[in-house]
Point group: C2
Chain length 74, copies 2
DNA sequence: CATTTTCGAAGACTATAGTCCGTAGACTAT
DNA sequence: ATAGTCTACGGACTATAGTCTTCGAAAATG
């Protein structure tokens, strides 16, 4: 499975754990609502800056986020 | 200091540790040589896919790479 | 010294990240 | 039913990631 699809699954899992809607996360990370949707469906490849922006309101380190992706990546 | 500038410093440090030229790293990661140069000078914000591509020949996990950035960021 | 390797930088380009507008469907509650 | 919330998805954008070519200037290397 591709990196961006795994990224989307991880993002959705974490967001739902934190009880955020896509729109709430979009506002908190200063990104667009429709873009969060695209990310979760594996349709975009975020830059590292976007990853950092997402991780801040989710309350975890970007390195931890990537760790979750690495677990799924074989 | 911005994420992309720190990213560039970390990338250069790791690349020089591994005794790679920009051109060698470019070939191994299937990226353009001038783009490696742009990254190291903090002029570009790589996607997570590009980060994974760079980490493979450098022999470290993307999460470890981001860990290095986080050290400098706080 | 002279030669080679390495890198910075610019310009023109293509691909895609990310925004902004909307609509429609599923679900929940009133 | 209907009003509110949430999300998928579309189209049309703008901004920027990433490529390709070239040149010249540092640094090595001998």
């Amino acid at each position: 499975m591709s990196i961006e699809v795994i990224f989307g699954k991880v993002l959705r899992n974490i967001r739902e754990d934190k009880k955020f809607s896509q729109e709430q996360l979009a506002h908190l990370s200063e990104l667009d609502r429709t873009y969060i949707s695209l990310l979760e469906r594996g349709k975009r490849r975020p830059t590292i800056n976007t990853l950092f922006a997402l991780c801040k309101p989710l309350g975890l380190k970007p390195s931890e986020f990537l760790g979750e992706i690495e677990k799924e990546l074989y």
